[in-house]
Amino acid sequence: MNNWIIMPAVLPAFTAAFLLLTLRHRPQAQRIVSIVATALGLLVAIGLAVEASDGVAQAYRLGDWPAPFGIVLVLDRLSATLLVLTGVLALCVVLYASAGWDRRGQHFHTLLQFQLLGINGAFLTGDVFNLFVFFEVMLIASYGLMLHGGGPARLKAGFHYVAINLIASALFLIGVGLIYAVTGTLNMADLALKVPEVVPADQGLLKAGALLLFLVFATKAALVPLHWWLPSTYAATSAPAAAIFMIMTKVGAYAILRVYGLVFGAEAGALALVAAPFVLPAAVVTLLLGTVGVVGSRSLRSLSAFAIVASMGTLLIALGLFDAAGVAAALYYIVHSSLAGAALFLLAGLVLEGRGAMGDRLLPGPAMRGEVLVGGLFLLCAVAMVGLPPLSGFLGKVMILEAVRSSASWPWLWALILGTSLALTLGFVRAGAVLFWASGPAGEGPRRRLDPLPLTAIVLLLALAGAWTGAAGPAMVWMDEVARQSLDRASYVEAVLGPTNHRSGGLGE
Protein backbone atom coordinates (compact mmCIF):
# COMPACT_ATOMS: atom_id res chain seq x y z
CA MET A 1 0.00 0.00 0.00
CA ASN A 2 1.40 3.37 -1.00
CA ASN A 3 1.32 5.63 2.05
CA TRP A 4 1.93 8.77 0.01
CA ILE A 5 -1.69 8.69 -1.13
CA ILE A 6 -2.85 10.11 2.21
CA MET A 7 -0.25 12.90 2.18
CA PRO A 8 -2.33 15.48 0.22
CA ALA A 9 -4.85 15.31 3.08
CA VAL A 10 -2.45 14.94 6.00
CA LEU A 11 0.00 17.68 5.03
CA PRO A 12 -2.49 20.59 4.98
CA ALA A 13 -4.22 19.24 8.09
CA PHE A 14 -1.01 19.28 10.10
CA THR A 15 0.10 22.59 8.60
CA ALA A 16 -3.20 24.19 9.60
CA ALA A 17 -2.99 22.85 13.14
CA PHE A 18 0.65 23.95 13.40
CA LEU A 19 -0.18 27.47 12.17
CA LEU A 20 -3.06 27.75 14.59
CA LEU A 21 -1.28 26.41 17.65
CA THR A 22 2.24 27.79 17.42
CA LEU A 23 2.34 30.70 14.99
CA ARG A 24 -0.87 32.47 15.88
CA HIS A 25 0.65 35.88 16.42
CA ARG A 26 3.52 35.71 13.96
CA PRO A 27 2.14 36.59 10.53
CA GLN A 28 5.50 36.55 8.78
CA ALA A 29 6.32 33.05 10.00
CA GLN A 30 2.77 31.97 9.09
CA ARG A 31 3.34 33.10 5.52
CA ILE A 32 6.62 31.25 5.19
CA VAL A 33 5.24 28.03 6.65
CA SER A 34 2.12 28.30 4.49
CA ILE A 35 4.08 28.91 1.29
CA VAL A 36 6.51 26.08 2.03
CA ALA A 37 3.71 23.66 2.94
CA THR A 38 1.72 24.54 -0.17
CA ALA A 39 4.80 24.08 -2.36
CA LEU A 40 5.47 20.73 -0.68
CA GLY A 41 1.85 19.77 -1.29
CA LEU A 42 2.32 20.57 -4.97
CA LEU A 43 5.46 18.41 -5.09
CA VAL A 44 3.62 15.52 -3.43
CA ALA A 45 0.79 15.91 -5.95
CA ILE A 46 3.26 15.85 -8.84
CA GLY A 47 4.88 12.76 -7.34
CA LEU A 48 1.49 11.08 -7.10
CA ALA A 49 0.71 12.04 -10.71
CA VAL A 50 3.94 10.33 -11.79
CA GLU A 51 2.92 7.35 -9.69
CA ALA A 52 -0.54 7.27 -11.29
CA SER A 53 0.76 7.67 -14.83
CA ASP A 54 1.12 3.90 -15.25
CA GLY A 55 -2.66 3.78 -15.51
CA VAL A 56 -3.27 1.46 -12.56
CA ALA A 57 -5.59 2.88 -9.92
CA GLN A 58 -4.32 2.40 -6.38
CA ALA A 59 -6.43 2.16 -3.27
CA TYR A 60 -5.31 3.27 0.20
CA ARG A 61 -7.24 1.48 2.90
CA LEU A 62 -7.40 3.63 6.03
CA GLY A 63 -6.61 1.56 9.09
CA ASP A 64 -6.14 -1.37 6.69
CA TRP A 65 -9.81 -2.33 6.96
CA PRO A 66 -10.90 -4.43 3.98
CA ALA A 67 -12.41 -2.36 1.22
CA PRO A 68 -16.20 -2.21 1.40
CA PHE A 69 -16.17 -1.90 5.20
CA GLY A 70 -13.39 0.59 5.76
CA ILE A 71 -12.87 3.93 4.08
CA VAL A 72 -10.64 3.95 1.02
CA LEU A 73 -8.79 6.67 -0.80
CA VAL A 74 -8.27 5.99 -4.48
CA LEU A 75 -5.48 7.45 -6.55
CA ASP A 76 -5.97 7.33 -10.28
CA ARG A 77 -5.04 9.63 -13.12
CA LEU A 78 -8.12 11.79 -12.65
CA SER A 79 -7.58 12.48 -8.97
CA ALA A 80 -3.83 12.97 -9.46
CA THR A 81 -4.43 15.53 -12.23
CA LEU A 82 -6.83 17.52 -10.10
CA LEU A 83 -4.50 17.35 -7.09
CA VAL A 84 -1.73 18.92 -9.16
CA LEU A 85 -4.12 21.61 -10.37
CA THR A 86 -5.19 22.35 -6.78
CA GLY A 87 -1.54 22.58 -5.72
CA VAL A 88 -0.66 25.05 -8.48
CA LEU A 89 -3.67 27.22 -7.77
CA ALA A 90 -3.08 27.18 -4.02
CA LEU A 91 0.55 28.19 -4.43
CA CYS A 92 -0.40 31.21 -6.57
CA VAL A 93 -3.11 32.23 -4.11
CA VAL A 94 -0.78 31.94 -1.11
CA LEU A 95 1.81 34.09 -2.90
CA TYR A 96 -0.81 36.69 -3.75
CA ALA A 97 -2.27 36.77 -0.26
CA SER A 98 1.14 37.05 1.39
CA ALA A 99 1.47 40.60 0.09
CA GLY A 100 -0.96 41.81 2.74
CA TRP A 101 -4.37 40.34 2.06
CA ASP A 102 -3.85 37.72 4.74
CA ARG A 103 -3.70 40.38 7.47
CA ARG A 104 -7.15 41.80 6.80
CA GLY A 105 -8.68 39.17 9.01
CA GLN A 106 -7.53 36.33 11.16
CA HIS A 107 -6.24 32.91 10.24
CA PHE A 108 -6.19 33.29 6.45
CA HIS A 109 -3.45 30.71 6.00
CA THR A 110 -4.98 28.29 8.50
CA LEU A 111 -8.33 28.42 6.72
CA LEU A 112 -6.65 28.02 3.35
CA GLN A 113 -4.83 24.89 4.51
CA PHE A 114 -8.06 23.42 5.91
CA GLN A 115 -9.71 24.16 2.59
CA LEU A 116 -6.90 22.34 0.78
CA LEU A 117 -7.47 19.39 3.12
CA GLY A 118 -11.13 19.27 2.10
CA ILE A 119 -10.49 19.71 -1.63
CA ASN A 120 -7.68 17.15 -1.81
CA GLY A 121 -9.70 14.71 0.27
CA ALA A 122 -12.73 15.11 -1.99
CA PHE A 123 -10.58 14.31 -5.03
CA LEU A 124 -9.08 11.23 -3.39
CA THR A 125 -11.90 9.59 -1.54
CA GLY A 126 -13.56 6.43 -2.80
CA ASP A 127 -16.54 6.53 -0.47
CA VAL A 128 -19.69 8.58 -0.89
CA PHE A 129 -20.15 9.46 2.78
CA ASN A 130 -16.50 10.34 3.09
CA LEU A 131 -17.03 12.61 0.09
CA PHE A 132 -19.73 14.36 2.13
CA VAL A 133 -17.31 14.79 5.05
CA PHE A 134 -14.58 16.25 2.84
CA PHE A 135 -17.16 18.50 1.16
CA GLU A 136 -18.06 19.80 4.61
CA VAL A 137 -14.43 20.34 5.60
CA MET A 138 -13.94 22.25 2.37
CA LEU A 139 -17.11 24.28 2.90
CA ILE A 140 -16.48 25.11 6.55
CA ALA A 141 -13.07 26.49 5.62
CA SER A 142 -14.60 28.31 2.67
CA TYR A 143 -17.12 30.06 4.95
CA GLY A 144 -14.21 31.49 6.90
CA LEU A 145 -12.29 32.44 3.77
CA MET A 146 -15.37 33.93 2.15
CA LEU A 147 -15.91 36.23 5.14
CA HIS A 148 -12.21 37.09 5.39
CA GLY A 149 -11.95 40.85 5.81
CA GLY A 150 -15.57 41.38 6.87
CA GLY A 151 -17.88 44.19 5.77
CA PRO A 152 -21.68 44.31 5.44
CA ALA A 153 -21.93 43.16 1.81
CA ARG A 154 -19.67 40.22 2.50
CA LEU A 155 -21.62 39.26 5.62
CA LYS A 156 -24.96 39.33 3.84
CA ALA A 157 -23.65 37.39 0.86
CA GLY A 158 -21.92 35.04 3.31
CA PHE A 159 -25.22 34.33 5.02
CA HIS A 160 -26.71 33.31 1.68
CA TYR A 161 -23.69 31.20 0.86
CA VAL A 162 -23.76 29.33 4.18
CA ALA A 163 -27.54 28.86 4.05
CA ILE A 164 -27.55 27.45 0.52
CA ASN A 165 -24.71 25.10 1.33
CA LEU A 166 -26.46 23.88 4.47
CA ILE A 167 -29.52 23.07 2.38
CA ALA A 168 -27.29 21.32 -0.16
CA SER A 169 -25.67 19.33 2.65
CA ALA A 170 -29.11 18.26 3.88
CA LEU A 171 -29.95 17.06 0.37
CA PHE A 172 -26.61 15.27 0.19
CA LEU A 173 -27.41 13.36 3.39
CA ILE A 174 -30.90 12.44 2.17
CA GLY A 175 -29.40 11.19 -1.11
CA VAL A 176 -26.71 9.22 0.72
CA GLY A 177 -29.34 7.78 3.08
CA LEU A 178 -31.51 6.59 0.19
CA ILE A 179 -28.58 5.02 -1.61
CA TYR A 180 -27.48 3.25 1.57
CA ALA A 181 -31.00 2.08 2.31
CA VAL A 182 -31.27 0.43 -1.10
CA THR A 183 -27.76 -0.92 -1.67
CA GLY A 184 -26.36 -1.30 1.85
CA THR A 185 -23.02 0.21 0.90
CA LEU A 186 -21.48 3.62 0.28
CA ASN A 187 -18.15 2.53 -1.13
CA MET A 188 -18.09 3.79 -4.73
CA ALA A 189 -16.56 0.63 -6.18
CA ASP A 190 -18.97 -1.58 -4.25
CA LEU A 191 -21.85 0.67 -5.33
CA ALA A 192 -20.76 0.36 -8.95
CA LEU A 193 -21.15 -3.40 -8.58
CA LYS A 194 -24.43 -3.33 -6.67
CA VAL A 195 -26.36 -0.63 -8.53
CA PRO A 196 -26.97 -2.80 -11.64
CA GLU A 197 -28.28 -5.60 -9.43
CA VAL A 198 -30.90 -3.61 -7.55
CA VAL A 199 -34.33 -5.19 -7.85
CA PRO A 200 -36.87 -3.21 -9.94
CA ALA A 201 -39.02 -2.43 -6.89
CA ASP A 202 -36.17 -0.45 -5.32
CA GLN A 203 -34.95 1.27 -8.46
CA GLY A 204 -37.25 4.25 -7.96
CA LEU A 205 -35.80 4.97 -4.51
CA LEU A 206 -32.26 4.57 -5.75
CA LYS A 207 -32.95 6.88 -8.66
CA ALA A 208 -34.37 9.49 -6.29
CA GLY A 209 -31.22 9.24 -4.16
CA ALA A 210 -28.96 9.47 -7.18
CA LEU A 211 -30.74 12.53 -8.53
CA LEU A 212 -30.75 14.26 -5.12
CA LEU A 213 -26.98 13.80 -5.07
CA PHE A 214 -26.87 15.23 -8.56
CA LEU A 215 -28.71 18.34 -7.31
CA VAL A 216 -26.00 18.80 -4.68
CA PHE A 217 -23.14 18.43 -7.14
CA ALA A 218 -24.94 20.72 -9.58
CA THR A 219 -25.21 23.34 -6.84
CA LYS A 220 -21.47 23.11 -6.25
CA ALA A 221 -20.77 23.24 -9.98
CA ALA A 222 -23.09 26.27 -10.35
CA LEU A 223 -25.34 24.57 -12.88
CA VAL A 224 -28.46 26.61 -13.74
CA PRO A 225 -30.90 26.95 -11.95
CA LEU A 226 -28.72 26.25 -8.90
CA HIS A 227 -26.07 28.84 -9.74
CA TRP A 228 -27.52 31.94 -8.07
CA TRP A 229 -25.26 31.73 -5.06
CA LEU A 230 -22.10 31.96 -7.15
CA PRO A 231 -22.15 35.49 -8.60
CA SER A 232 -23.15 37.13 -5.32
CA THR A 233 -20.65 35.09 -3.29
CA TYR A 234 -17.68 35.42 -5.60
CA ALA A 235 -18.36 39.10 -6.23
CA ALA A 236 -18.55 39.86 -2.51
CA THR A 237 -15.54 37.93 -1.29
CA SER A 238 -11.87 38.86 -1.35
CA ALA A 239 -9.73 38.22 -4.42
CA PRO A 240 -7.57 35.38 -3.05
CA ALA A 241 -10.60 33.61 -1.60
CA ALA A 242 -12.46 33.84 -4.92
CA ALA A 243 -9.37 32.52 -6.70
CA ILE A 244 -9.14 29.42 -4.52
CA PHE A 245 -12.92 28.96 -4.80
CA MET A 246 -12.25 28.44 -8.51
CA ILE A 247 -11.32 24.87 -7.72
CA MET A 248 -14.48 24.34 -5.64
CA THR A 249 -16.79 24.56 -8.64
CA LYS A 250 -14.48 22.02 -10.24
CA VAL A 251 -14.97 19.71 -7.26
CA GLY A 252 -18.66 19.70 -8.20
CA ALA A 253 -17.82 18.83 -11.81
CA TYR A 254 -15.41 16.14 -10.57
CA ALA A 255 -18.09 14.61 -8.33
CA ILE A 256 -20.55 14.53 -11.25
CA LEU A 257 -17.97 12.73 -13.36
CA ARG A 258 -17.00 10.29 -10.61
CA VAL A 259 -20.47 9.37 -9.44
CA TYR A 260 -22.39 9.54 -12.73
CA GLY A 261 -19.55 8.30 -14.95
CA LEU A 262 -18.58 5.42 -12.68
CA VAL A 263 -21.24 4.41 -10.13
CA PHE A 264 -24.25 5.31 -12.28
CA GLY A 265 -22.26 5.02 -15.49
CA ALA A 266 -22.94 3.25 -18.76
CA GLU A 267 -22.81 -0.18 -17.12
CA ALA A 268 -25.26 0.56 -14.31
CA GLY A 269 -28.15 -1.44 -15.79
CA ALA A 270 -31.54 0.20 -15.41
CA LEU A 271 -29.98 3.28 -13.84
CA ALA A 272 -27.28 3.76 -16.49
CA LEU A 273 -26.33 7.41 -16.99
CA VAL A 274 -29.16 8.55 -14.73
CA ALA A 275 -27.99 12.18 -14.65
CA ALA A 276 -26.99 12.50 -18.30
CA PRO A 277 -30.38 13.76 -19.59
CA PHE A 278 -30.13 16.72 -17.19
CA VAL A 279 -26.49 17.73 -17.54
CA LEU A 280 -26.49 18.86 -21.16
CA PRO A 281 -29.65 21.04 -21.17
CA ALA A 282 -28.72 22.61 -17.83
CA ALA A 283 -25.18 23.27 -19.08
CA VAL A 284 -26.55 24.99 -22.19
CA VAL A 285 -28.70 27.32 -20.11
CA THR A 286 -25.78 27.89 -17.72
CA LEU A 287 -23.58 29.03 -20.58
CA LEU A 288 -26.31 31.36 -21.88
CA LEU A 289 -27.08 32.91 -18.50
CA GLY A 290 -23.41 33.31 -17.65
CA THR A 291 -22.88 35.15 -20.91
CA VAL A 292 -25.84 37.44 -20.32
CA GLY A 293 -24.42 38.14 -16.87
CA VAL A 294 -21.00 39.03 -18.27
CA VAL A 295 -22.52 41.44 -20.76
CA GLY A 296 -24.74 43.04 -18.13
CA SER A 297 -22.40 43.22 -15.13
CA ARG A 298 -21.78 46.51 -13.40
CA SER A 299 -18.56 45.59 -11.62
CA LEU A 300 -15.45 43.70 -12.60
CA ARG A 301 -15.86 41.12 -9.84
CA SER A 302 -19.42 40.35 -10.82
CA LEU A 303 -18.30 40.13 -14.47
CA SER A 304 -15.61 37.65 -13.44
CA ALA A 305 -18.12 35.61 -11.46
CA PHE A 306 -20.49 35.37 -14.43
CA ALA A 307 -17.56 34.47 -16.67
CA ILE A 308 -16.97 31.53 -14.30
CA VAL A 309 -20.63 30.52 -14.60
CA ALA A 310 -20.27 30.62 -18.40
CA SER A 311 -17.09 28.55 -18.28
CA MET A 312 -18.78 25.97 -16.04
CA GLY A 313 -21.53 25.77 -18.65
CA THR A 314 -18.99 25.21 -21.42
CA LEU A 315 -17.16 22.46 -19.60
CA LEU A 316 -20.32 20.70 -18.46
CA ILE A 317 -21.56 20.61 -22.06
CA ALA A 318 -18.51 18.48 -22.83
CA LEU A 319 -18.70 16.51 -19.58
CA GLY A 320 -22.40 15.85 -20.14
CA LEU A 321 -21.57 13.69 -23.15
CA PHE A 322 -20.09 11.09 -20.74
CA ASP A 323 -17.86 9.67 -23.47
CA ALA A 324 -14.07 9.60 -23.51
CA ALA A 325 -13.67 12.46 -26.00
CA GLY A 326 -16.08 14.72 -24.14
CA VAL A 327 -14.58 14.03 -20.73
CA ALA A 328 -11.03 14.56 -22.04
CA ALA A 329 -12.00 17.93 -23.56
CA ALA A 330 -13.80 18.91 -20.36
CA LEU A 331 -10.74 18.03 -18.27
CA TYR A 332 -8.44 20.05 -20.50
CA TYR A 333 -10.88 22.94 -20.13
CA ILE A 334 -11.11 22.49 -16.35
CA VAL A 335 -7.38 23.10 -15.99
CA HIS A 336 -7.55 26.10 -18.29
CA SER A 337 -10.59 27.70 -16.72
CA SER A 338 -9.25 27.27 -13.18
CA LEU A 339 -5.98 29.00 -14.09
CA ALA A 340 -7.59 31.77 -16.12
CA GLY A 341 -10.45 32.31 -13.66
CA ALA A 342 -8.08 32.56 -10.71
CA ALA A 343 -5.91 35.06 -12.60
CA LEU A 344 -8.99 37.12 -13.45
CA PHE A 345 -10.17 37.27 -9.84
CA LEU A 346 -6.71 38.14 -8.52
CA LEU A 347 -6.52 40.89 -11.12
CA ALA A 348 -9.96 42.17 -10.13
CA GLY A 349 -8.54 42.43 -6.61
CA LEU A 350 -5.70 44.62 -7.89
CA VAL A 351 -8.13 46.83 -9.80
CA LEU A 352 -10.33 47.15 -6.73
CA GLU A 353 -7.36 48.29 -4.66
CA GLY A 354 -5.88 50.54 -7.32
CA ARG A 355 -8.98 52.55 -8.15
CA GLY A 356 -9.64 53.71 -4.61
CA ALA A 357 -13.15 55.03 -4.11
CA MET A 358 -14.28 53.86 -7.56
CA GLY A 359 -13.69 50.26 -6.57
CA ASP A 360 -14.20 47.82 -9.38
CA ARG A 361 -17.39 49.40 -10.71
CA LEU A 362 -17.43 49.58 -14.48
CA LEU A 363 -17.53 53.38 -14.67
CA PRO A 364 -14.79 55.70 -15.91
CA GLY A 365 -12.65 56.89 -13.03
CA PRO A 366 -9.19 58.25 -12.31
CA ALA A 367 -6.34 56.24 -13.73
CA MET A 368 -4.78 53.71 -11.41
CA ARG A 369 -1.08 53.30 -10.93
CA GLY A 370 0.50 50.79 -13.27
CA GLU A 371 -2.50 51.11 -15.54
CA VAL A 372 -0.66 49.85 -18.61
CA LEU A 373 0.63 46.77 -16.82
CA VAL A 374 -2.67 45.91 -15.13
CA GLY A 375 -4.55 46.66 -18.34
CA GLY A 376 -2.22 44.41 -20.30
CA LEU A 377 -2.73 41.61 -17.79
CA PHE A 378 -6.48 42.17 -18.02
CA LEU A 379 -6.24 41.78 -21.79
CA LEU A 380 -4.46 38.44 -21.35
CA CYS A 381 -7.01 37.27 -18.75
CA ALA A 382 -9.86 38.27 -21.06
CA VAL A 383 -8.26 36.49 -24.02
CA ALA A 384 -7.90 33.37 -21.91
CA MET A 385 -11.42 33.49 -20.44
CA VAL A 386 -13.16 34.18 -23.73
CA GLY A 387 -11.17 31.55 -25.56
CA LEU A 388 -9.22 33.47 -28.17
CA PRO A 389 -5.82 32.32 -29.41
CA PRO A 390 -3.03 32.11 -28.26
CA LEU A 391 -3.99 31.14 -24.71
CA SER A 392 -5.39 27.79 -23.66
CA GLY A 393 -9.07 28.79 -23.74
CA PHE A 394 -8.99 28.67 -27.52
CA LEU A 395 -7.71 25.10 -27.74
CA GLY A 396 -10.04 24.09 -24.92
CA LYS A 397 -13.06 25.35 -26.83
CA VAL A 398 -11.84 23.78 -30.08
CA MET A 399 -11.56 20.44 -28.32
CA ILE A 400 -15.03 20.82 -26.84
CA LEU A 401 -16.42 21.70 -30.29
CA GLU A 402 -14.67 18.64 -31.66
CA ALA A 403 -16.09 16.44 -28.87
CA VAL A 404 -19.71 17.55 -29.25
CA ARG A 405 -19.67 16.40 -32.87
CA SER A 406 -20.77 13.02 -31.52
CA SER A 407 -23.98 14.56 -30.16
CA ALA A 408 -27.04 14.65 -32.40
CA SER A 409 -27.64 18.34 -31.70
CA TRP A 410 -24.10 19.43 -32.51
CA PRO A 411 -24.97 22.27 -34.93
CA TRP A 412 -26.94 23.97 -32.15
CA LEU A 413 -24.17 23.43 -29.64
CA TRP A 414 -21.60 24.84 -32.06
CA ALA A 415 -23.76 27.89 -32.69
CA LEU A 416 -24.25 28.36 -28.96
CA ILE A 417 -20.58 28.00 -27.97
CA LEU A 418 -19.35 30.25 -30.79
CA GLY A 419 -22.14 32.80 -30.30
CA THR A 420 -21.58 33.07 -26.58
CA SER A 421 -17.84 33.45 -27.19
CA LEU A 422 -18.58 36.50 -29.28
CA ALA A 423 -20.87 37.94 -26.60
CA LEU A 424 -18.26 37.22 -23.93
CA THR A 425 -15.68 39.07 -26.02
CA LEU A 426 -18.00 42.07 -26.18
CA GLY A 427 -18.52 41.97 -22.42
CA PHE A 428 -14.82 41.87 -21.69
CA VAL A 429 -14.02 44.55 -24.28
CA ARG A 430 -16.58 46.85 -22.69
CA ALA A 431 -15.13 46.28 -19.22
CA GLY A 432 -11.56 46.77 -20.37
CA ALA A 433 -12.38 49.90 -22.35
CA VAL A 434 -14.19 51.51 -19.43
CA LEU A 435 -11.61 50.56 -16.84
CA PHE A 436 -8.39 51.25 -18.70
CA TRP A 437 -9.13 53.49 -21.71
CA ALA A 438 -11.81 55.84 -20.43
CA SER A 439 -9.88 56.64 -17.26
CA GLY A 440 -9.28 60.29 -16.46
CA PRO A 441 -6.09 61.81 -15.03
CA ALA A 442 -4.69 60.16 -11.96
CA GLY A 443 -6.61 61.12 -8.83
CA GLU A 444 -5.12 62.75 -5.78
CA GLY A 445 -4.37 61.23 -2.45
CA PRO A 446 -2.18 58.32 -1.50
CA ARG A 447 -2.44 55.34 -3.73
CA ARG A 448 -1.18 51.87 -3.16
CA ARG A 449 2.06 50.87 -4.79
CA LEU A 450 1.71 47.78 -6.95
CA ASP A 451 3.22 44.96 -4.95
CA PRO A 452 5.47 42.58 -6.84
CA LEU A 453 4.06 39.46 -5.15
CA PRO A 454 0.46 39.69 -6.43
CA LEU A 455 1.73 40.53 -9.90
CA THR A 456 4.02 37.49 -9.78
CA ALA A 457 1.07 35.29 -8.87
CA ILE A 458 -1.06 36.63 -11.75
CA VAL A 459 1.78 36.41 -14.26
CA LEU A 460 2.53 32.87 -13.08
CA LEU A 461 -1.09 31.81 -13.60
CA LEU A 462 -1.22 33.38 -17.07
CA ALA A 463 2.14 31.88 -18.00
CA LEU A 464 0.81 28.47 -16.97
CA ALA A 465 -2.28 29.06 -19.12
CA GLY A 466 0.10 29.85 -22.00
CA ALA A 467 2.21 26.78 -21.25
CA TRP A 468 -0.98 24.71 -21.19
CA THR A 469 -1.46 25.73 -24.85
CA GLY A 470 2.14 24.90 -25.70
CA ALA A 471 1.83 21.51 -24.03
CA ALA A 472 -1.58 20.82 -25.57
CA GLY A 473 -0.33 17.77 -27.52
CA PRO A 474 1.01 15.78 -24.57
CA ALA A 475 -1.71 17.25 -22.30
CA MET A 476 -4.42 15.91 -24.58
CA VAL A 477 -2.79 12.47 -24.75
CA TRP A 478 -2.74 12.48 -20.94
CA MET A 479 -6.33 13.71 -20.67
CA ASP A 480 -7.50 11.01 -23.10
CA GLU A 481 -6.01 8.41 -20.80
CA VAL A 482 -7.50 10.14 -17.75
CA ALA A 483 -10.92 10.15 -19.39
CA ARG A 484 -10.74 6.52 -20.41
CA GLN A 485 -9.62 5.45 -16.95
CA SER A 486 -12.27 7.55 -15.20
CA LEU A 487 -15.05 5.84 -17.19
CA ASP A 488 -13.58 2.35 -16.77
CA ARG A 489 -15.65 0.71 -14.07
CA ALA A 490 -13.87 -2.66 -14.08
CA SER A 491 -10.38 -1.36 -13.34
CA TYR A 492 -11.63 0.95 -10.56
CA VAL A 493 -13.54 -1.88 -8.90
CA GLU A 494 -10.53 -4.15 -9.20
CA ALA A 495 -8.26 -1.55 -7.62
CA VAL A 496 -10.54 -1.08 -4.63
CA LEU A 497 -12.06 -4.50 -4.04
CA GLY A 498 -9.20 -6.64 -5.28
CA PRO A 499 -8.77 -8.82 -8.36
CA THR A 500 -11.03 -11.62 -7.14
CA ASN A 501 -14.00 -9.34 -7.73
CA HIS A 502 -15.78 -10.81 -4.72
CA ARG A 503 -19.26 -9.49 -4.13
CA SER A 504 -18.84 -8.81 -0.40
CA GLY A 505 -22.40 -10.00 0.06
CA GLY A 506 -22.47 -10.67 3.76
CA LEU A 507 -20.44 -9.94 6.82
CA GLY A 508 -19.45 -13.57 7.08
CA GLU A 509 -16.65 -13.25 4.55
Binding site: R104, F129, V133, E136, I140, Y143, L147, G149, G150, G151, P152, A153, R154, L155, K156, A157, G158, F159, H160, V162, A163, L166, I167, S169, A170, L173, I174, V176, G177, L178, Y180, A181, S232, A236, L352, G356, A357, M358, G359, L507
Partner: protein, 132 residues
Protein backbone atom coordinates in the same frame (compact mmCIF):
# COMPACT_ATOMS: atom_id res chain seq x y z
CA UNK B 1 -44.21 3.14 13.94
CA UNK B 2 -43.16 3.59 10.31
CA UNK B 3 -46.05 5.98 9.70
CA UNK B 4 -45.23 7.94 12.84
CA UNK B 5 -41.54 8.33 11.96
CA UNK B 6 -42.23 9.07 8.31
CA UNK B 7 -44.84 11.73 9.03
CA UNK B 8 -42.63 13.30 11.70
CA UNK B 9 -39.77 13.57 9.18
CA UNK B 10 -42.16 14.96 6.59
CA UNK B 11 -43.59 17.51 9.00
CA UNK B 12 -40.17 18.69 10.11
CA UNK B 13 -38.98 19.00 6.51
CA UNK B 14 -42.08 20.96 5.53
CA UNK B 15 -41.71 23.29 8.53
CA UNK B 16 -38.04 23.75 7.72
CA UNK B 17 -38.67 24.55 4.08
CA UNK B 18 -41.45 27.00 4.93
CA UNK B 19 -39.22 28.85 7.38
CA UNK B 20 -36.22 28.86 5.02
CA UNK B 21 -38.33 30.67 2.44
CA UNK B 22 -38.93 33.60 4.83
CA UNK B 23 -37.15 36.86 4.20
CA UNK B 24 -35.51 37.30 7.61
CA UNK B 25 -32.44 35.55 8.86
CA UNK B 26 -33.84 34.27 12.17
CA UNK B 27 -36.64 32.16 10.63
CA UNK B 28 -34.16 30.92 8.03
CA UNK B 29 -31.83 29.72 10.78
CA UNK B 30 -34.66 27.99 12.65
CA UNK B 31 -35.77 26.45 9.36
CA UNK B 32 -32.28 25.11 8.70
CA UNK B 33 -32.28 23.58 12.17
CA UNK B 34 -35.61 21.86 11.47
CA UNK B 35 -34.25 20.59 8.18
CA UNK B 36 -31.19 19.14 9.86
CA UNK B 37 -33.37 17.40 12.50
CA UNK B 38 -35.44 15.90 9.71
CA UNK B 39 -32.32 14.74 7.88
CA UNK B 40 -30.88 13.18 11.02
CA UNK B 41 -34.07 11.27 11.74
CA UNK B 42 -34.23 10.21 8.09
CA UNK B 43 -30.64 8.94 8.06
CA UNK B 44 -31.28 7.06 11.27
CA UNK B 45 -34.30 5.34 9.77
CA UNK B 46 -32.36 4.31 6.67
CA UNK B 47 -30.89 1.33 8.51
CA UNK B 48 -34.52 0.16 8.88
CA UNK B 49 -36.48 0.67 12.07
CA UNK B 50 -35.57 -1.96 14.62
CA UNK B 51 -36.57 -1.77 18.25
CA UNK B 52 -34.59 -3.03 21.22
CA UNK B 53 -31.69 -4.57 19.31
CA UNK B 54 -27.99 -3.86 19.90
CA UNK B 55 -25.87 -2.49 17.04
CA UNK B 56 -23.43 -5.33 17.62
CA UNK B 57 -23.23 -8.44 15.54
CA UNK B 58 -23.45 -11.66 17.49
CA UNK B 59 -23.91 -15.01 15.84
CA UNK B 60 -27.55 -15.92 15.46
CA UNK B 61 -28.96 -12.86 17.26
CA UNK B 62 -30.83 -10.01 15.56
CA UNK B 63 -29.01 -6.69 15.40
CA UNK B 64 -29.69 -3.17 14.21
CA UNK B 65 -27.54 -1.66 11.48
CA UNK B 66 -24.73 0.30 13.17
CA UNK B 67 -23.62 2.27 10.11
CA UNK B 68 -26.51 4.78 9.97
CA UNK B 69 -25.83 5.52 13.64
CA UNK B 70 -22.25 6.40 12.80
CA UNK B 71 -23.40 8.48 9.82
CA UNK B 72 -25.98 10.32 11.88
CA UNK B 73 -23.42 11.11 14.56
CA UNK B 74 -21.18 12.74 11.95
CA UNK B 75 -24.14 14.59 10.48
CA UNK B 76 -25.22 15.87 13.91
CA UNK B 77 -21.75 17.20 14.71
CA UNK B 78 -21.47 18.97 11.38
CA UNK B 79 -24.96 20.47 11.43
CA UNK B 80 -24.53 21.60 15.03
CA UNK B 81 -21.31 23.43 14.20
CA UNK B 82 -22.83 24.96 11.09
CA UNK B 83 -25.89 26.18 12.97
CA UNK B 84 -23.62 27.91 15.48
CA UNK B 85 -21.73 29.55 12.62
CA UNK B 86 -24.81 30.79 10.81
CA UNK B 87 -26.27 32.20 14.05
CA UNK B 88 -23.11 34.25 14.54
CA UNK B 89 -23.19 35.25 10.89
CA UNK B 90 -26.81 36.36 11.09
CA UNK B 91 -26.08 38.32 14.25
CA UNK B 92 -23.04 40.07 12.76
CA UNK B 93 -25.03 40.86 9.66
CA UNK B 94 -27.76 42.40 11.80
CA UNK B 95 -25.28 44.44 13.82
CA UNK B 96 -23.45 45.74 10.75
CA UNK B 97 -26.39 46.56 8.50
CA UNK B 98 -29.04 47.21 11.14
CA UNK B 99 -31.44 44.84 9.44
CA UNK B 100 -32.39 41.22 9.80
CA UNK B 101 -33.56 40.96 6.21
CA UNK B 102 -31.74 38.49 4.03
CA UNK B 103 -31.86 40.35 0.71
CA UNK B 104 -28.59 41.58 -0.70
CA UNK B 105 -29.73 45.03 -1.81
CA UNK B 106 -29.43 46.46 1.71
CA UNK B 107 -25.88 45.29 2.01
CA UNK B 108 -25.07 46.71 -1.42
CA UNK B 109 -26.57 50.02 -0.36
CA UNK B 110 -24.28 50.05 2.66
CA UNK B 111 -21.36 49.21 0.40
CA UNK B 112 -22.08 52.21 -1.84
CA UNK B 113 -20.92 54.51 0.94
CA UNK B 114 -17.32 53.85 0.17
CA UNK B 115 -14.69 51.53 -1.26
CA UNK B 116 -14.35 47.88 -0.37
CA UNK B 117 -14.14 47.22 3.33
CA UNK B 118 -10.59 47.54 4.50
CA UNK B 119 -11.07 46.27 8.01
CA UNK B 120 -13.40 45.76 10.86
CA UNK B 121 -13.38 49.35 12.11
CA UNK B 122 -14.42 51.08 8.92
CA UNK B 123 -17.18 48.56 8.32
CA UNK B 124 -18.49 49.17 11.82
CA UNK B 125 -18.69 52.86 11.03
CA UNK B 126 -20.52 52.24 7.83
CA UNK B 127 -22.87 49.86 9.57
CA UNK B 128 -23.62 52.67 11.97
CA UNK B 129 -24.23 55.03 9.08
CA UNK B 130 -26.67 52.62 7.52
CA UNK B 131 -28.55 52.30 10.81
CA UNK B 132 -28.76 56.04 11.27
Amino acid sequence: MEILVASAIGLMTATGLFLILQGRSFPVIVGLTFLSYAVNAFLFAMGRLTVDRPPIITAGAAYTDPLPQALVLTAIVISFGMTALIVVLGLRGFLETGSDRTDLSLANAAEEHGPAPAGEDSSRERGGAARA
